[in-house]
């Protein structure tokens, strides 16, 4: 497991976000630069303070460095998959601890909406066994992969469409309080059921958005961060695990094995667990992933995440674990985990206005996929 001594040793010193939506005048590099400038401004830094660079989804780190005029000591790039946002943040801590850099900028840019990104079909190899092996059967898309998982969960445990719809509706209710969210119009469960099937049992409203935008974060030692402009948010705990073997097919255990291992490590490192969390940021590519996450990370008993959500646990309106207070991927912006991490930071700084979780001290980010990560953030208490 990660060393306990690293708990709270490193912090988020700045966060930056672009507008979200359709931004045809910007490509992914431009969006990354925009977000990075916003994050530097937030931290009260300039580009010359940055000596580590981690780029995600933007196609080429070299081109990005050329565009912004940066020669970092440490630089790396990761695949444009949402599971890598948490991975990059954890990597930043490892890089800092190793002395490879002192101040790391993490930069993400996504012009998927303008570029016409489509999921499913001949260009999408997700779950296809490579080279479209399963296309002759009409099998394609991450959505179908998660629909298969959702159907199995429904059959094994009695999880219902209403419960998945409630996840979507809850996050939309939160987005209604977030001026930056792309989709802010509230809807009812009846509206959810009227939204068209994409791959049954998933409706359109079970799917995340596709939109343009960029996000950046500045991570450094907590001690350094205390001298910067913004209030630091400490990285209290994290973990990482994977289920890559056999991952062409949906996992029998809804990724509970890797998820619960990450939970154990992150809680042990942070010295706190679910009872101490004041809010959750859950990677909501599809609504069932939220349910599987709640089970893997110990919030709901296995098989009981649906009723647990129905109990109102995730709502800002009195729930003990307000989740995806920004609206998440389903309603705020599809920033592949990055904007959820930023939302955690903003909540712990008390910057969230109408959607603020009062007195929030700890927030957990989690993502469940063939690679699982989670980060526990805490208010810095020098």
């Amino acid at each position: 497991m990660p060393k306990r001594s690293l708990s709270r040793a490193y912090a988020v010193a700045g966060v930056g976000t672009t507008r979200y939506g359709k931004l045809p005048e910007y490509d992914a590099y431009d969006l990354g630069v925009w977000a990075l400038q916003d994050a530097l401004d937030d931290a009260g830094l300039t580009l010359s303070d940055i000596d580590g660079l981690i780029v995600n989804r933007i196609a080429d780190y070299q081109r990005f460095g050329e565009i912004v005029g940066l020669d970092p000591r440490y630089v790396t790039i990761t695949p444009g998959q949402g599971r890598f946002s948490g991975h990059c943040i954890e990597t930043a801590v490892a890089v800092l601890e190793a002395g490879l850099a002192e101040v790391v900028a993490l930069v993400y840019g996504n012009d998927g909406r303008t570029a016409g990104d489509r999921y499913g079909g001949a260009s999408d190899l997700y779950g296809s066994g490579g080279a479209g092996l399963w296309f002759p059967y009409g099998m394609t898309s991450p959505g179908a992969f998660h629909a298969l998982m959702a159907q199995r969960h429904m059959s094994l445990y009695g999880t219902t469409s209403d419960q998945m719809g409630l996840v979507a509706k809850t996050f939309r209710d939160h987005a209604a309080l977030n001026p930056a969210a792309v989709m802010r119009e509230r809807y009812t469960l009846a509206d959810y059921h009227r939204s068209r099937w994409i791959v049954e049992p998933l409706h359109l409203f079970d799917y995340c958005l596709i939109n343009d935008g960029g996000v950046a974060m500045i991570v450094t030692s907590t001690e350094r961060a205390r001298d910067m402009k913004a209030k630091p948010v400490a990285i209290a705990g994290f973990g990482m695990a994977s289920e890559l073997a056999g991952s062409t097919f949906p996992p029998d255990d809804f990724w509970h094995g890797a998820g619960s291992a990450v939970a154990r490590d992150a809680y042990e490192m942070a010295g706190i667990g679910p009872p101490e969390m004041d809010g959750l940021m859950i990677y909501d590519n599809f609504t069932p992933t939220v349910l599987f996450c709640l089970e893997a990370f110990g919030y709901a008993p296995v098989g009981e995440s649906g009723p647990w959500v129905e109990d109102g646990n995730l709502t800002l309106d009195g729930g003990p674990y307000p989740a995806n207070t920004s609206g998440g991927h389903l309603s705020e912006s599809y920033m592949q985990g990055w904007a959820l991490n930023v939302e955690a930071v903003r909540q712990l700084r008390g910057d969230c206005d109408e959607r603020q979780i009062e007195g929030a001290e700890h927030i957990q980010y989690m993502t469940l996929a063939p690679m699982v990560t989670s980060i526990v953030y805490g208010v810095d208490a020098p």
Binding site: T140, L148, R152, I198, P250
Partner: protein, 147 residues
């Protein structure tokens, strides 16, 4: 069968023996020569023991449905007239899994764990797809769900 508009498998890659067996209405999967583990899709190395030595072995074609979903969105032109169509994950008795279609799927849903057996669908003169049908049913008069 001219005019078949759905995607077809490549017949010249590492999975070729699978498709050749399907054409003969049998089901062969790759098997490690050293540890005997069955695998599919084809890979050079065995994920169980790392061996690069392998052959192809006949399996029963019997299995159970692990899950299913129903496509309403048209992702491939050739499926436009078939939506909604059903995709299943079948776990074979011998262990490996396949994505496929279930012929004769009940309209009101499929039970997880449903026993199924291979159904060979000759979709073109060159290509036979390995689909599944509920175990113990005759093959001739099944209503397809377009899968």
């Amino acid at each position: 069968m001219s005019g078949y508009a759905k995607p077809l498998p490549r017949l010249d890659d590492a999975n070729a023996p699978f498709w050749a067996s399907a054409k003969a209405h049998a089901l062969n999967l790759q098997q490690c020569d050293d540890c005997g583990t069955l695998r599919f899709p084809a890979t050079r190395h065995c994920a169980a023991c790392g061996s690069a030595k392998s052959g192809w072995a006949a399996v029963s074609g019997r299995g159970t449905v692990e899950s299913w979903c129903r496509f309403h969105q048209v992702y491939f032109e050739g499926f436009g007239e078939d939506v909604p169509y059903t995709v299943v994950v079948v776990r074979l008795e011998e262990g490996p899994r396949l994505f496929s279609n279930l012929i004769g799927a009940p309209a009101d849903g499929i039970d997880i764990g449903l026993a199924v057996e291979a159904y060979y669908d000759d979709v073109t003169p060159e290509v036979t797809l390995v689909k599944f049908k509920p175990a113990g049913r005759a093959g001739g008069a099944l209503g397809g769900d377009g899968g």
